[in-house]
Amino acid sequence: MAEIAIKAEAVEIEAKVKKLTLVWTGLTFILFPILGLLGFLMRLVQGNVFPMFPPEWFYSILTLHGVGMVGLWFVEGMIAVIYLLSKYVKPSAGVSWFSFTFTLIGVALIIISTIAGKFGAGWYFLYPLPYKSAEIWPNWATDLYLIGLGVLGIAWTVWVIDVLRAIAKKYTLNQALAWHYLAGKTEPELPPIILIVTVTCIGAITGFLAAVALLLLFLFDRVSGTPADPLLMKNLVFYFGHVLVNITMYLGVAILYETLPQYTQKPWKTNKLVAFAWNTVLFLVLFAYFHHLYMDFVQPKAFQIIGQFASYFISVPAAVVTIFSALAMIYKTKVNWTLGSSLIFLGTMGWAVGGVAAVIDSSIAVNFRFHNTLWVPAHFHTYFLMGVVLMILGFIYHFSQLHSNIPDNSKLAKFTVWLILIGGYGFLSMFYTGGALFVPRRYALYPPALSSGTTLAQISIVFVSILTIGFLLYLIQTIRRWARSF
């Protein structure tokens, strides 16, 4: 009797989580094309295809694209992980729905702020620009933007805490961080996804705390006119931004650990090495963000050097443990390559390439000339667009295929993957070349002396077109399966 009841509960949870995942992933099909096309539009403007395009529109599009993409992939990573986690622990479906509702509200506020209000201070809204726009956007636009971020912050903090709560129901904190493996024990067995998600959620909470402090200081300035310290504000915003982007990457890696074994028929278990790697990551991620402030010469020199050390060594666990193991796992092994598993696996390649570019730029002496050049969007688009985004898109396909039972069309899948790789890396190579030529980032138009930026943007239009076709094919194959999964 009891057994049947447990089974019934499992089925019910399964259905609940499935529905949740379906709805959340459906958001990707709307937001990803829109935000991607905004990116396309920016390259067109930078290539001077529309000479009359108002620059303030460019900067509000830049803001929306940046904050939208980072937010979108964070939430999609979260829902993917919640779906995969529910095999082991039970995050609350109610909290996920709450988070979904609030996320929609936050997104709506940010869209109004950037599109109707022309807010264009960048996703990172560096103090004091948001309220000193040279009268380009009104103060209410900034208010809406900050309120929108606040709403997202509340939704996501609650969400992350609930995931930790679900994990804590089954594991103590030191078990969830696999400290018993460090001590040489292997009981209780801990699925690696639990370890990674625990690290991710703890990191997320520290990032959200920094965001709270930041928003309060903004509020204080707005209400009482007491100016905040610009250097402190910069530290806070970059701590928050850096952590958010990093943990989104880790959510992708959590997907990898949990799904790749299903395609290779080999288990991926926690061991001492994996435990050590992720605890190191949790420690180093707190300090790597200093590399965003290398060009603030008044920042204490010790922080700058710590930033370079942390940024360098955080690459070691990623490369030696995760990427190495992923490669070893497929070597001479029969892998069931579908559109899903291919994208998930190839995401690690983008992580590796982008990681190399990141480590290079995190050398202070190099950053002296690469800071805020196109090298920066080059490297983070590599490990986002060609990294975690591919992993999450791969997951959405994996999930939809599983529940729709429509078999994979391997020829079409292969063609799709090639288009995405050629279009994606081609697009990135133009960013990298721009960086190598010191073309500044976040320029609506390039001045005549830096006209190579214009030419490179024009060439990249070809690659972005290829990429767009690739993603379109992806969407056609995935939405068909997704729609059948309801």
Binding site: S133, F309, F313, A328, Y331, K332, A357, R442, S452
Partner: protein, 202 residues
């Protein structure tokens, strides 16, 4: 291109191609799977050497780049000082501190400041409104160096110009809708003529 960044780009191209190659190799190995054998273990043997090589590469990177950090040490004195103030949407440069908006406006529209080639110039960089990024590009679009222009703070940037000519400061931090059009100019002259010109001005 500044040598260290040229080296950086070359290193990146090398490793990016290496990674593509490794992935191509591993993915194609799945075409002819070996039955019944556990190849995971044979690859796993390479993990320790890989770890050591990566560590050595990173340490080499630290040893080679840390001595080249651009932050001025306490005991470093320039041959000349230039004050820089950013404000939406221009950089004003002067040999005297720029403390008021009027002074900033005057200097932003004035003839470029002149400095000698081959000497250490210290730029004391600040902002009168929002964050800007002060950079110095030569006439070929080569970036010599940069620092942030932040309200309430002064960042000290040391630059030695090898060649005479006009150098342009482009803005490296998003500061509003004319961010891409924000500029400042400085003129670098031969050391000999520099003294003469200063005398002429007096």
């Amino acid at each position: 291109m500044a040598p260290i960044n040229a080296v950086a780009v070359a290193i990146f191209i090398f490793f990016a191609l290496l990674i593509f190659g490794v992935y191509a190799f591993f993915i194609s190995s799945t075409r002819k799977p070996a039955v019944g054998e556990d190849y995971y273990k044979s690859v796993a043997k390479l993990r320790a050497p890989f770890f050591v090589i990566l560590l050595l590469l990173l340490i080499a990177g630290l040893v080679l780049t840390l001595p080249k950090i651009p932050y001025p040490s306490k005991g470093k004195f320039p041959d000349a000082v230039v004050y820089v103030a950013g404000k939406q949407f221009n950089f004003a440069l002067d040999t005297q501190p720029i403390e008021s908006e009027e002074r900033w406006k005057e200097r932003a529209e004035a003839e470029p400041v002149q400095v000698p080639a081959g000497k250490w110039i210290e730029f004391r960089v600040t902002s009168l409104d929002v964050n800007h990024g002060f950079s110095l590009y030569d006439e070929n679009g080569k970036l010599l160096g940069q620092t942030q222009a932040m309200p309430g703070y002064v960042n000290r940037l040391f630059i030695k110009f090898d060649k005479p000519g006009f150098y342009t400061a482009y803005c490296m931090e998003l500061c509003g809708n004319s961010h891409h059009a924000m500029k400042g100019v400085i003129e670098v002259v031969e050391e000999g003529t520099f003294g003469a010109k200063i005398l002429n001005q007096q």
